[in-house]
Subunit: 259 residues, 2 copies
Amino acid sequence: MPSAFRFVSRREGSILRTGEPMRAPYGLEIIENCMSCPHREDKLFCNLSAPAVQRLAAIASAAAYPKGATLFVEGQSPRGVFIICSGRVKLSTSSADGRTLILRISEPGEVLGLPATVTGMPYELTADVIEPAQANFISRQDFLLFLREHGEAALRVAQQLGETYHAAIAEMRTIGLSHSAGEKLARFLLDLAVDHDTSKGDIKLTLTLTHEEIAQMIGASRETVTRLFSDFKRRQLLQIKGSTLIIKNKVGLENVLSS
Amino acid sequence: MPSAFRFVSRREGSILRTGEPMRAPYGLEIIENCMSCPHREDKLFCNLSAPAVQRLAAIASAAAYPKGATLFVEGQSPRGVFIICSGRVKLSTSSADGRTLILRISEPGEVLGLPATVTGMPYELTADVIEPAQANFISRQDFLLFLREHGEAALRVAQQLGETYHAAIAEMRTIGLSHSAGEKLARFLLDLAVDHDTSKGDIKLTLTLTHEEIAQMIGASRETVTRLFSDFKRRQLLQIKGSTLIIKNKVGLENVLSS
DNA sequence: ATTGAGACGTGACCGGAATCACAGCCGGTG
DNA sequence: CACCGGCTGTGATTCCGGTCACGTCTCAAT
């Protein structure tokens, strides 16, 4: 295990914020050793050599972001990567007329801004914090230098990018290949259920997204999502209690795909 | 500049073919020195050290594919990467009920199957040859070994993946963020025009796709595409002569986006 | 307690585009 | 030539889902 680094508060990425200013208490109590959080292990920078890990710790700077903060904005030239330690971040793109498409909600352990940072092209998405988050920031310059010095890490980055691409294509399929909105919603829900235990009939999962957000993820209107949920509930396909969603009839839901 | 390698005819990737069997003449006249084709320079493996290039040449095997050949199929476990030397290859994904979504048409110089090969996940797309092609194949095993040995190449791969991702997101936007089909088609055409000289009024470009294929690229029906083309012609936005498309009024076309 | 903002639920309306169906067209091939 | 298969053009019809326009409910703040 690495000798992980300590709290640094350069507070990168808080330049462009849409929401309220960062509240004082944040950023103090929290971060001290983000690089050693459990998620790190099975994600991007596991199994690196000791020197590589140390170097990484040296160039990363931790910071906390309140709900509503924006890590980076679509079109902005890439400043670097963010490694999420906790919280949740929404990745979206939007058009001139205000319509928004949410690509995915990223969870702890993920690395954001990787494609842009590596290629030098502008960030292709906007990253908004929707649950108070801690993240390590690494500037583009430092990161590229690091990759050049550590080929092993470059390979890991390539793998990570491949996975991200894979996910993007999957998203694309649900949006582009289905005729009905119901199909899209069903696909979306089944995708969520993939990780969870699928053995017995009921699949329980927490869904902390508003109908509006779900709509933006599947490319539909808010009302349609609401109606579809009612419809699915009526057909005994699922139940909703607060932020808990229970899939009662998985096969039934799968049948929606091929209708 | 490298001492490039010579004709090898292992004929990789011809295992799964949808179309007619490979005709005899193909594969003979053609390849002799694919790695030294002009496209290579500004693409994936430029600026590598001499040993890296040599190694690359050693593990790559050239082959020719007729129209209709399939390099790889969605869902298949990754065999390796294909570096396109000439011809054009269609990358698509399709659903159970036969609907197809074309991601892009790749041109000489591109590397196909990279994400899958790097991550080990199944190919996420299907690659069909639509114009007789020559390509170098590198098996997954060889390729990964090569990347591990040459960190510089791994970094290049990461960049390439980043760009591919970028393109995918762009595609996503045109499909997901536009209300009307007209908007999608206009976006598609303007994307094509990006590379071409944009200075004076008329932009001339060759479009060797059927309406059907265009429809599958923008997520619309064939009839709609036909109708939209008639419509655009009527409105003097463009002209079509054979496989040549001339954009007469670029700003007019751009106005379609925000209507 | 009152207010107000945001999320959810539903009805009515209507337009865009998918679908079906068929008619010209053009380029191959026997 | 005559034939055929794939591509293109166009009409008629249908219906999904976006949009508008409300009403309800919850929760937080004053």
